[in-house]
């Protein structure tokens, strides 16, 4: 991380490349300036959220902002950021007529809060900290939202007492500061941390429905918060159920919009609640200012912590599932590519045929034209054949490209017979060189099935290759026959069967046939059938085998028809 200390030490003013980010080679001038500006406005917000006439700030966001900036920045950049906020701190604090000694003291305590939180967190989690796992969220909460505010508050109160500013007692100051800074750390830091990790392209790719849902969520949350926390209380009796009104929205955010959405929703709740409370509205208004503020802060903290953790846990689980899915896709793709590799000899043959035809035709035409014996009709015929051969080669490549492609599963209505036709086209060369005769008994007018073309072709290809392998050694070439059947079965489902006349399998072998890494071939991986079965399962279908001793093996796929699939 610190391999280029010169690049930060000798940072030129201005940006060397557009789109800055906190990276190893980033120039720190722009981020530092951004943090300073943010600090200034955060302090203004802090002042705005001060309960009048008693100067008790309910939420002090500048420290949380600095904490988030330190957590996102590499350690060597910290001094830049701390130095950058000093002018902002002086500017905003000196406006309010606080003695210079106190202003400097607060700079020290503010920086120490962020440093304690970020430094402790960095000891546990390497840069950068992201709220993407329960562990890192827990470390953030403990270090940033608890240890930082608590420890620095003792220092802060001591400094206030030392300077002799104000008339409040030491423990009163400590308590007030802990609560307001913890709440700020819970509100502001997660918001910045999660927003910084949002990927803009993914945001752009989101569908309109998603934006509509987010709008509904935040409008709903905003209106609810207004109703609950920003209306005057006509009697001092507050309905406890009112406090729960925003919760559904927060759970909604945690379930559907991840840590970033939840952090945003918490920020909305916090801002709305404090706004109402400092204006003497909502359920917290009424008692003494200290009690009002404390109750509100406790409420907000008690809501924010579990909601944040819930969002992080859900997000982590979803990502683990996504990873597993991605791995399955990769494995499926790999086994497909490996299978195509085995078929490469036959595929080369399939390409050689049209290439030979094109070459011979062109050479014949060249000769005929050279001899001046070329009749236009013959030349036309030759050119037509060249086109046909070229198209055939193109078709071979198209089929291959489809199967080599790695992509998301795409369900669409498919014709089982057409899939079989494609698959037999791919293995045609192999079937010929292995002297395997194919007998197709395809039922006409089959109902459409619903599935992913590539994955289903992979399954069929696998079964065809298995059948050919089974007939490789022990079966005489003139007896190698692969029978492919399709038929409609009950409920409009389609059954596809591949039967060979190899040695078949025993019940003991069958019991293990679909296990991963079980293989009867000398060079097989043993993944084909287990992946095939997994694919057919995601298609809500069934794949099974049957064998009569000495009469070969059959494998059957049943796929539900389009309508029965319910999609």
């Amino acid at each position: 991380m610190d391999s280029h200390p010169a690049s930060s030490a000798g940072a030129a003013p201005g940006l060397t490349h557009p789109g800055w980010r906190f990276g190893a080679r980033t120039t720190w001038a722009a981020p530092a300036l951004l943090v300073a500006v943010g600090y200034y406005f955060a302090a203004r917000v802090g002042f705005a959220f001060t309960l009048q006439p008693y100067p008790i700030s309910t939420l002090w966001p500048p420290n949380a902002l600095l904490l988030a900036a330190l957590l996102l920045a590499p350690t060597r950049a910290w001094w830049w950021l701390l130095a950058a906020v000093l002018p902002a701190h002086l500017l905003v604090e000196l406006q309010s007529g606080v003695p210079v000694a106190m202003v400097l003291g607060w700079y020290v305590s503010n920086c120490s809060e962020a440093l304690i939180g970020a430094g402790l967190a960095r000891a546990f989690v390497p840069w950068p900290l992201r709220l993407d796992s329960l562990r890192s969220a827990g470390i953030f909460l403990f270090c940033g939202a608890l240890a930082g505010p608590v420890v620095s508050s003792f220092l802060d109160a001591a400094l206030v007492s030392l300077v002799g500013f104000g008339e409040r007692g030491y423990w009163d100051l400590v308590g007030t500061r802990i609560f307001s800074n913890t709440l700020a750390a819970l509100t502001v830091a997660p918001l910045i941390l999660t927003l910084a990790s949002i990927q803009i392209p993914r945001l752009r790719a989101a569908r309109t429905a998603r934006y509509a849902e987010a709008t509904a969520l935040f409008v709903g949350l905003g209106v609810t918060c207004m109703m609950v926390f920003n209306l005057p209380q006509f009697d001092n009796h507050t309905e406890p159920a009112l406090f729960y009104a925003p919760l559904p929205f927060l759970v909604w955010a945690a379930l559907r919009f991840g840590p970033a959405g939840t952090a945003s929703a918490i920020a909305v709740l916090v801002v709305a609640t404090i706004f109402g409370t400092v204006n003497g509205l909502g359920p917290f208004a009424g008692s003494t200012p200290q009690e009002t503020v404390r109750e509100m802060q406790l409420f907000l903290t008690a809501v924010a912590v579990p909601m944040l953790l819930l969002a992080v846990v859900l997000d982590e689980r979803a990502r683990v599932e996504l990873d597993a899915r991605e791995q399955r896709l990769q494995l499926t793709h790999l086994s497909r590519v490996a299978m195509l590799g085995e078929l490469s000899g036959g595929i080369a043959h399939e390409l050689n045929q049209p290439l030979t035809a094109i070459l011979s035709n062109a050479q014949a035409a060249l000769h005929l034209v050279g001899n001046k014996s070329a009749h236009p009709d013959i030349l036309m015929e030759i050119l037509r054949d060249i086109i046909a051969a070229d198209q055939r080669a193109g078709e071979v490549i198209r089929r291959l490209r489809t199967l080599f492609k790695r992509g998301e599963t795409q369900f669409q209505p498919l014709d089982a017979n057409e899939l079989i036709h494609e698959v037999l086209g791919i293995v045609h060369g192999d079937l010929v060189t292995r002297s395997v005769e194919v007998v197709s008994e395809l039922a006409a007018a089959l109902p459409k099935i619903h599935g992913d073309r590539v994955e289903l072709e992979q399954v069929m290809l696998n079964l065809v290759v298995n059948a050919c392998d089974a007939m490789g050694g022990g079966v005489a070439p003139e007896q190698r026959r692969l029978t492919v059947r399709t038929r409609a079965v009950e409920d409009g489902a389609v059954q596809i069967s591949f039967s060979d006349c190899g040695p078949g399998f025993t019940p003991e072998q069958y019991a293990r046939l679909f296990e991963p890494f079980y293989t009867t071939k000398p060079r097989g991986l043993g993944l084909g059938l287990s992946i095939s079965r997994a694919i057919i399962r995601t298609h809500h279908g069934r794949l099974w085998g049957s064998s009569a001793p000495g009469k070969g093996a059959s494998f059957h796929i049943v796929l539900p028809a389009l309508a029965a699939n319910g999609r």
Partner: protein, 208 residues
């Protein structure tokens, strides 16, 4: 006499293109889409050769080669294969293939291979024709004349032959003169050469 190149390939496009290419080089060409079609339709009396794909569904190239050998049709075969398996090419060459080309092949190689095959066919047919004619003349000899012939070609003198046959040397001379006239030879050397041609050909190399 007409000479015909028979092209056999199950792939229509390849079949047509090969036919055209050979035609453009001035060969007489007949195309067949399968070895079975060839066996059913070709005229074994027309001299020529076969250009065919080794791997075809049904009867494959090597099997056709065997079928031809059975029918005593020694028509030379030029194999073209998409995949050159060493084992298959060795078998094909052992069974008397003239050449073994791998797709995509060079035009000149194909033409050279076809020329060589036709030449081989011509030579073997000429030998056959000569043998037939000598055999025909042999059949006109009387048993006594045959006895004389077999001893003449063995290098025996009239006196020895007369002794072996238990007859007069003069009689042997008469038989010998009649035999030479019937066989239409003027010299002993011609007779000996023709005689060796009629000897049964050496057995075909064993099939792998």
């Amino acid at each position: 006499m007409k000479v015909c190149v028979s092209v056999i390939d199950d792939d229509t496009l390849v079949l047509r293109s090969l036919g055209r290419l050979l035609q453009s080089h001035g060969f007489e060409v007949q195309t067949f889409s399968s070895p079975q079609a060839f066996l059913e339709r070709h005229d074994s009396d027309v001299p020529g050769c076969i250009v065919m794909d080794l791997s075809m569904p049904g009867l494959n190239g090597l099997e056709l080669q065997q079928a031809l050998a059975h029918a005593a049709d020694r028509r030379p075969v030029v194999f073209i294969s998409g995949r050159s398996s060493v084992e298959a090419s060795v078998r094909a060459m052992k069974a008397g293939a003239v050449d073994f080309l791998t797709k995509p092949f060079d035009e000149a190689d194909l033409v050279a291979a076809v020329r060589a095959a036709l030449e081989k066919d011509r030579a073997s047919r000429e030998g056959l024709a000569e043998r037939a004619s000598v055999n025909f003349r042999l059949a006109t000899l009387t048993p006594r004349e045959r006895d004389v012939l077999s001893r003449v070609v063995a290098g025996k003198l009239n006196k020895q032959i007369a002794a072996e046959l238990g007859t007069a040397e003069k009689t042997v001379k008469v038989h010998r003169a009649r035999m030479m006239r019937k066989m239409q030879f003027d010299s002993l050397a011609e007779l000996v050469r023709a005689w060796t041609v009629t000897q049964p050909p050496p057995p075909a190399p064993p099939q792998a």
